[in-house]
């Protein structure tokens, strides 16, 4: 086994070991075999290509190019076979995109959906190429740890509990294997180690002293790295755990609004929750998992709130007075096993929750948060909630808001400046509730706004500005904009995240999928507390108390009736429409420039595919084209000299071009040309290395070499270049004919001479010893002399 092959095996092994860090992220699956196949393919391709003495920058590219058919074949087998076609590439892209959606939809460990598997295989294959390139092609094992580290650290950051020590050990071992292989390779370059007479039998590398020492150090380091964290209390979590037996004061939750768009676009619509409820109006049975109460200009965030023990019943809702009617609703909710949410989805104003596990209560948002990695996955819990039903009058006549809620009124100044005119225009005058209801109507029913989940996610100032500009968005933008506008009007507001009511099943239960994810604004009115609004068109149901609010602003009158005829989906309906149906139903759909209809998409895809293919082909063909250009230039110089008798040019240039061209052809065919070889030696050697039947080849070679020799060393350059071009062609044909097919192919497509570095170091100065003389008199003296010669 050569050292390079050993390195290639070590690199493949290291990538395989480090890939094990991906295992805790997904539940098994067939992707492992595909990823291993990709690693093997990369290693084999690399070794094969390196044997052909291809220039180093191209090896990695070739590996990537070989990977493409493999990935297409393995991941989208139904499409087109191994050849990349626009269809298969699009299918592959879709698969990756679906994988991205899946990844955002599932917390680890996720099921190995085809998309996730595709991403994993692609990532592993790419890392394999990187590791192989760095460690084997460029023979630098240590930096090859970087791609491995990247492969390790992403799962390490994602896995909730961190990766286990076994995975760490395997990944560390992978790096050690790589380093040991390189160390062995480097040491063996010095020769065979001297071994005592008795040690003849020990032939494996691990038994050699140096390897033993290095291996011991590496294993000891790994062991220390694994053992020390186990015995030393290091992380803050651990300390907190010990101090507080009841549970955490603070729980870091992932802001659910971040993943909202992906959940909405999730093509699979994974089923997350089912529930049964006795609510009289099931279409207002929203489930909440977060309340985002802080807006910093960039995004809505949940603020840190104190957590308390879960009591039964829970504290009364903030601001709710007994005068407001509230129905008691009993529900039973079951969460799917694939829904590792650490906030318990609850209907608004839950008062009693019967749930197992470690949960903590947050009063401000009325949320139950899982402590110590408690999630809702697989839970089944009963909730008693108050379906608060304030009347219009109660809300309209709501008193001033208590000052402790002032933090719910904060708006960044620039946003207040840019939005207040519009807000006041659309909200009109009247009580805060009337203003809010008009805003809701403007958003949901005026028809000015279009629901589209394909726009970039975001709820910050920029997103709101864009939203007000384009009037296209989804619940995230609708909710956050309305919440901001409410704040501008002086109404405390926040954005709640959760789910719209699910779809009723045959057995009477409701099913909630990931596409039911939703965000909506909650506004605070004294006497009633937090009240839900629904500004998003075509989603959810507007609350009953906002249905009959008259609109005082005349401008909003006309559009408010328009949607009811042109956009039926904009009317509040208990059932949800599918997203694409909503889109197609919109009259304004065609106006959107970014909108991609089917025909255009196909054409664009084809064009992009063709363009990419063209660029790849051009890149691959660039060396060949460059080589061909150089050859034509040289041969052209030869024939030009014949045509116009030199034309004032030095025929020596053309002759040397012929010689260099012949040598470059030989280089392309894998002949190594030493700098200490003279033209006639080279001519003799080339004639030997490319045996031909006739003598034409060797004679042509000799003629070229002799001419070059005269140009280089004789006092007078040969004045004729006649026939040299033909000789060059003869030599090239003969050399190509005498080479095996593979060599010929390489000479054509990857000509080594194109990649040859031009020597310009001390060596070059040494070689061009006459340069000083040439510089000295080449300026005008030479020209004068030539003119004289031609005059005679």
């Amino acid at each position: 086994m050569t050292g390079r092959l050993r390195m290639a095996v070590a690199a493949a092994f290291a990538t395989t070991l480090t890939s094990s860090s991906l295992l805790p992220l997904v539940h098994g699956g067939s992707w492992i075999a595909k990823a291993l196949g990709a690693i093997l393919l990369v290693a084999a391709t690399g070794e094969a290509v390196r044997r052909m003495a291809v220039p180093r920058p191209f090896i990695g590219t070739i590996q990537l190019v070989v990977l493409i058919p493999y990935l297409l074949l393995v991941l989208v087998p139904g499409e087109s076979g191994p050849l990349p076609t626009p269809a298969s590439i699009r299918a592959y892209g879709d698969l990756l995109h679906a994988g991205g959606v899946d990844i955002r939809g599932f917390a680890p460990p996720a099921p190995a959906t085809p998309g996730i598997a595709a991403i994993l295989v692609t990532v592993v294959a790419t890392v394999a190429v990187l590791v192989d390139t760095v460690a084997v092609t460029y023979a630098q094992a240590a930096p090859a740890g970087l791609p491995l580290l990247a492969l390790y650290s992403v799962p390490a950051a994602l896995a909730e509990s961190g990766l286990g020590w076994t995975v760490f050990l395997l990944s560390g071992l992978a790096y050690v294997v790589l380093l040991l292989a390189e160390g062995r390779e480097r040491l063996l370059r010095w020769g065979r180690p001297l071994a005592p007479a008795g040690a003849q039998a020990s032939r494996t590398s691990m038994q050699r002293p140096w390897a033993r020492g290095g291996g011991r150090i590496a294993l000891a380091t790994l062991a220390v790295a694994v053992l020390i964290p186990a015995v030393v209390p290091m992380t803050a979590n651990r300390l907190v755990d010990r101090d507080n037996g009841d549970g955490s004061d603070r729980i870091t939750t992932i802001n659910p609004v971040v993943t909202l768009k992906n959940e909405l676009n999730n093509p699979q619509n994974a089923q997350l929750l089912t529930y049964t409820t006795n609510a009289p109006q099931p279409n207002t049975f929203y489930l909440r998992i977060a309340a985002l109460d802080t807006f910093d200009g960039n995004s809505w965030q949940p603020s840190e709130q104190p957590l308390t023990k879960v009591t039964t019943p829970l504290p009364a809702p903030v601001g709710l007075t007994p005068g407001v009617k509230a129905d008691r609703v009993v529900s039973e909710i079951r969460a799917g096993k694939n829904y590792p949410q650490n906030s318990l989805p609850l209907p608004w104003a839950a008062s009693e929750v019967k749930v197992k596990g470690r949960w903590r209560y947050e009063n401000e948002g009325r949320l139950l948060l899982g402590d110590n990695k408690q999630t809702v996955a697989g839970q089944r819990y009963d909730v008693v909630s108050l379906d608060v039903k304030p009347t219009e009058e109660q809300l309209r006549n709501a008193g001033p808001v208590p000052p402790e809620l002032n933090r719910y009124k904060e708006v960044p100044p620039e946003l207040r400046y840019s939005l207040s005119t519009k807000t006041k225009e659309k909200a009109g005058v009247g009580s805060p509730f009337e203003q809010a209801a008009r805003l809701q109507k403007w958003f949901a029913e005026s028809g000015e706004f279009r629901y589209d989940t394909k726009i970039p996610a975001g709820n910050g100032a920029n997103a709101i500005d864009n939203f007000m500009d384009q009037k296209v968005g989804y619940c995230e933008q609708f909710a956050s904009t309305m919440a901001i506008m409410a704040r501008i009007l002086g109404i405390p507001s926040r954005v709640a995240v959760g789910f719209v009511p699910g779809t009723q099943q045959a057995d009477g239960s409701y099913k909630v999928g990931s596409r039911d994810a939703h965000a909506w604004p909650e506004l605070y009115f004294a006497g009633t507390g937090w009240v839900r609004f629904e500004p998003t068109p075509s989603r959810g149901t507007g609350p009953a108390y906002t249905q009959n609010v008259p609109t005082a602003v005349p401008t909003t009158q006309a559009p408010s009736t328009a949607p009811s005829t042109t956009a039926p989906s904009a009317a509040p309906r208990p059932t949800q429409c599918r997203l694409d149906e909503c889109d197609s139903a919109k009259p304004s759909a065609s106006a959107a420039p970014a909108k991609s209809d089917d025909g255009g998409g196909w054409l664009t895809g084809t064009l992009i595919g063709a363009g990419v293919t063209l660029v790849v082909l051009l890149i691959l063909a660039a060396p060949m084209l460059a080589r061909r250009h150089v050859r034509q230039r040289r041969l052209g110089a030869l024939s030009r000299d014949v045509a116009d008798g030199g034309g004032g040019r030095d025929p020596g240039d053309a002759v040397l071009g012929a010689w260099t061209e012949t040598l470059d052809t030989a280089r392309d065919l894998g002949v190594r040309i030493e700098p200490s070889e003279t033209p006639r030696q080279l001519a003799a050697r080339l004639a030997e290395e490319f045996p031909t039947d006739g003598v034409y080849f060797s004679e042509a070679l000799e003629r070229i070499a002799l001419a070059a020799e005269q140009v280089l060393y004789a006092p007078e350059a040969p004045q004729r270049t006649m026939g040299l071009a033909e000789d060059v062609r003869t030599a090239r044909t003969a050399m190509l004919a005498a080479s095996p097919r593979g060599t010929r192919f390489r000479a054509t497509f990857l000509p080594a001479s194109t990649f040859r570095r031009r020597d310009d170091g001390p060596l070059d100065r040494l070689r061009s010893g006459r340069r000083l003389d040439a510089d000295g008199d080449a300026g005008n003296g030479t020209d004068d002399r030539e003119r004289e010669t031609s005059g005679v």
Partner: protein, 412 residues
């Protein structure tokens, strides 16, 4: 431009040289490359050191060359009791005329064959120093020019070391080339039996050229063009010997000079009026190897000086061989004046260090043509010599007197 004359001179040269070679090869069978080298050295105004085991025809080579050219030939058998004055000549007192009269020594000839040169004492060997480098003899304060052509062909036996005095570095540096005969092939040996069985082939050897012819040839050789790139290549080659880790003593600037001169002669013998790097490569071992001293490490790893030189030849890049560079042909254009040879302008050679330990035997046989001799002699055949403590002092044996010239230009 004397291109036409050059060509004519070259043709004449080749014709004459072919005749001489033919004559010599009728005596020395199966050794065309040795004969060629001898002729090259003659045309390059150098001196030849023939070194080999006894009985392979060293003396025969020297004598055949001398006999082929109709010129004065003297033969000196070097013995331990040979005195410097035997070589240079002596002033004797003429009682009748009451003045000293100079009796020329053996050196006053066109071709001097010095047989077994290492048998003479260093004092006597050193008597040759001035003669060889400056082509003049100084006796009792009077300098006598030597005739042209002048060539010393010395032979020595590297194996039998009893009672010999290895040549000092300074002496060896004055030889342009060292050649070893090597055993003849079986066929050549058989042929030799047939010819030599009846009588000495030297007897039937008639001169095919005379001294004036040779002088003309030498003039023609001097006209051979050395492009600056090739000159640079020669300097690089010699420089490489000075920088090699395996060589204790590199070649002198005189070696560069000799290399270029020999290459000119070789090119002329090839009917070429310009020198190729090939000429330098082929001559590198014969011209350079005998001047170099290997380091102890190289000796211990049994690398002969010849191998080291060959490796250097393989390392030093040839000017423009692989890459036709535009700037490299600037000097290839017709030059208005004889191309200045940068080597001739080289700094005067420092006196060669003479304190070096004598070369411990001649491990391998140099072969002409850049290939190690096929029968490299095992090192253990030569008993390791003790340095001769009194050797460095023997420059006193050299003729003293006014020091004319700097000793580096060819005597013209």
């Amino acid at each position: 431009m004397s291109t036409f004359n050059d060509q004519a001179g070259l043709k004449e040269l080749v014709a004459t040289a072919t005749r001489i070679r033919g004559a010599m090869e009728s005596v020395i069978e199966g050794k065309p490359e040795v004969v060629r080298l001898a002729l090259t050295v003659l045309l390059a105004e150098g001196h030849l050191l023939v070194e080999d085991v006894p009985g392979v025809g060293k003396t025969m080579l020297a004598k055949s060359l001398a006999r082929s050219v109709d010129c004065s030939v003297r033969r000196v058998q070097f013995t331990p009791d040979l005195l410097p004055s035997d070589i240079t000549g002596v002033s004797v007192y003429d009682q009748e005329r009451r003045e000293f009269e100079f009796k020329p020594g053996a050196i006053f000839a066109n071709i001097v064959v010095g047989d077994e040169i290492n048998r003479a004492s260093p004092k006597t060997q050193s008597a040759l120093l001035e003669c060889m480098a400056e082509r003049q003899v100084t006796v009792d304060g009077t300098t006598y020019e030597l005739q042209s052509p002048f060539m010393v062909i010395a032979t020595q036996n590297p194996v039998e070391m009893e009672g010999t005095y290895p040549l000092p570095e300074a002496q060896r540096d004055r030889f342009m080339a060292r050649v070893s005969m090597g055993y003849p092939s079986p066929e050549a040996e058989l042929e030799m039996l047939g010819v030599h069985g009846t009588g000495s082939p030297l007897d039937s050897l008639d001169p095919v050229a005379d001294a004036r012819d040779i002088v003309k040839l030498i003039e023609a050789v001097r006209e051979v063009h050395v492009s600056p790139g090739v000159a640079r290549y020669a300097v690089d080659l010699v420089n490489a010997t000075r920088n090699s880790a395996e060589l204790r003593l590199g070649a002198s600037p005189r070696a560069t000079l000799h290399l270029i001169r020999a290459a000119r002669a070789a090119a002329a013998l090839d009917n070429r009026n310009y020198v190729l790097p090939d000429d330098l490569q082929a001559l590198a071992v014969p011209v350079l190897a005998h001047r170099l001293l290997p380091t102890a490490e190289a000796q211990m790893s049994r690398r002969s000086v010849e191998q080291v030189v060959l490796d250097l030849v393989r390392l030093v890049p040839v000017p423009g061989g692989q890459d036709g560079r535009p700037q490299q042909q600037a000097a290839a254009r017709p030059a208005p004046a004889p191309v200045p040879n940068p080597v001739r302008a080289a700094a005067p050679a420092p006196r060669q260090p003479t304190m070096q330990a004598p070369q411990p035997g001649y491990a391998a046989q140099p072969g002409y043509g850049g290939h190690p001799a096929p029968y490299a002699q095992p090192q253990q055949h030569q008993p390791q010599q003790q340095p001769y403590p009194d050797q460095s002092g023997h420059y006193g044996g050299a003729p003293t007197g006014p020091f004319y010239g700097n000793g580096h230009g060819p005597a013209r």
